[in-house]
């Protein structure tokens, strides 16, 4: 946010003032979304999501693990995100920095709080063994709005995933072989949608150039009029009215995204 080259900042504002964007989209229009699921042979589930030129891949790995002591009957969920140096000249190698950590955590909470994964159905033996689901997100090309691409990718990959085979006799998982059982998922898809604030304008799905002049955003995960998680990012304020508008807008955009991606899922 608000980094990189802002040479077109004034012009972007001028356009927004007239309700326009460089690529002729309306403020709440998204770029075309393309999803490909199941591209990986070794992952339990996978998805590749493009929003315009922004692209992420998401892999699901599933293994057995010990449950957390405070949830002995629930499967575990872990979401990590990596902003790879291959996807943008501004990302560097090394341990995850705050933007990658935040991305993973925001997507994690949207999925966790919505109870999209029925973790109670991932219990193998209470207090001893459960399925652990890892959602790993990698950026392939950053042309803005990685946040929403990651959210869509996580959902698509989860829907694509199947549990590994399980050897009941020896009570252990058979590594590398998939069963026909899909992950236990809820019907409602909790999509995370980010509303970006540029000056006094609220817009959806910025490209890199637009995101670079954006100083504040709010990511909202929900389904219907239910909201499950929210996070504001960036060091600029929202007035209460703006926040309420952003919530409204996220719900509208979410419906749009949903109708454009359902053919892939």
């Amino acid at each position: 946010m608000a980094e990189g080259i802002r040479i077109n900042e004034d012009r972007i504002y001028e356009y927004l003032e007239k309700g326009k964007r460089f690529d002729e989209r309306a403020l709440n229009d998204l770029r075309e979304i393309v999803i490909e699921t199941g591209f990986s042979k070794n992952a339990e589930g996978s998805a590749r999501v493009k929003i315009g030129k922004t692209e992420v891949i998401v892999g699901i790995k599933i293994a057995t693990a010990t449950p957390y002591p405070d949830n002995p009957k629930d499967g575990n969920l872990m979401v990590t995100a990596e902003l790879t140096p291959l996807s943008s000249s501004r990302f560097e190698s090394g341990p995850p920095k705050i933007n990658a950590i935040e991305l993973g955590r925001v997507i994690d909470r949207g999925i966790r709080e919505s109870k999209f994964i029925k973790t109670e159905d991932l219990c193998i033996k209470e207090g001893e063994k459960v399925w652990e689901v890892y959602i790993d997100i990698y950026s392939l090309n950053d042309d803005g709005n990685l946040m929403d691409a990651a959210g869509i990718g996580a959902i698509a990959a989860l829907m694509n995933a199947r549990l590994p085979k399980y050897d009941l006799e020896n009570d252990k998982m058979i590594s590398g072989e998939l069963s026909d059982t899909h992950l236990p998922l809820a019907k409602e898809l909790p999509l995370s949608i980010t509303v970006y604030k540029i000056g006094k304008h609220l817009l959806a799905d910025p490209n890199r150039e637009e995101e670079d002049v954006c100083r504040s955003r709010v990511t909202i995960a929900g389904y219907g009029d239910r909201i499950f998680s929210m996070q504001k990012g960036g060091g600029e304020t929202f007035s209460v009215e703006e926040m309420k508008k952003a919530i409204e807008l996220s719900i509208k955009v979410r419906e749009k995204v949903f109708s454009s991606i359902k053919k892939y899922l």
Binding site: E102, R105, S229, K232, I247
Partner: protein, 234 residues
């Protein structure tokens, strides 16, 4: 429902826990403060503006705010491994974003203002207590500010909106369960921070935002009074 709603500690729905705010608790620091919501106690110390090392991270346009949120290992019942984790990294960033809008850091190009927040004891709403303490510490350090920042967590317990969520409420099990919505406002009522975990309708979320704004106005008065006290002492 609202008036008869029973909170675990007997508070009214819009009542915060007992707030204690004190400025100037760490003599070495350029500014410092403590803020407590009941058993949740946060302290914050400000060092700077000072020279930003390494030099390549300096911003010639304006000074940099750097916050570090840290829970002491014994601040919760299960010991936390000392050092940062992903949660604390995120809260540190959220805290920077919550405070930045009121700071006039353009007066300090190339410099850094460090804010260290330690949670001494945790009973939920730690990030809000931390932000409140940090805002006071920044004012105490004499950093030019356009206003204060005040922070509070709004909860939805089953269907009821409550102010200042405690640990017992965070783990609410009845009905729709808990929804936790920490928010921060500037003293002129603009939002600098919101997070949400749980399940809430658009309408109730709007109610929660309005409730938080009211609560933050009261917290602002407490912060202001604490700052006045320390001025009078000098």
């Amino acid at each position: 429902m609202s008036e008869e709603f029973k909170r675990p500690d007997g508070r009214k729905v819009k009542e915060t826990r007992k707030i204690v705010a004190k400025v100037g608790i760490i003599p070495n620091a350029d500014g410092s403060a403590m803020f407590a919501f009941g058993d949740t106690i946060a302290i914050a110390a400000v060092y700077g503006p000072r020279k930003f090392h390494p030099q390549h991270q300096q911003n010639p346009e304006k000074g940099t705010l750097r916050c570090e949120y840290n829970m002491l290992s014994f601040s919760v019942s299960d010991r936390i491994r000392p050092g940062g984790n992903r949660r604390s990294a995120e809260i540190s960033k959220i805290t920077e974003w919550a405070l930045e809008p009121v700071l006039m850091l353009d007066k300090y190009p190339n410099a850094v203002v460090d804010v260290y927040i330690n949670i001494i004891q945790a009973n939920a709403s730690t990030r809000c207590a931390g932000i409140n303490a940090a805002a006071m510490a920044l004012a105490h350090a004499g950093i030019p500010m356009k206003g204060m920042v005040s922070s509070v967590s709004i909860g939805k317990l089953d269907k009821q909106i409550v102010v200042d969520v405690s640990k017992a409420e965070e783990d609410w099990e009845e009905g729709e369960g808990p929804t936790d919505i920490p928010m921060s406002f500037t003293s002129d009522g603009k939002m600098t921070h919101i997070q949400l975990d749980g399940k809430i309708t658009q309408k109730q979320l709007e109610e929660a935002i309005d409730t938080a704004k009211e609560a933050c106005a009261k917290i602002y008065d407490i912060q202001k009074n604490a700052l006045k006290e320390v001025v009078n002492e000098k």
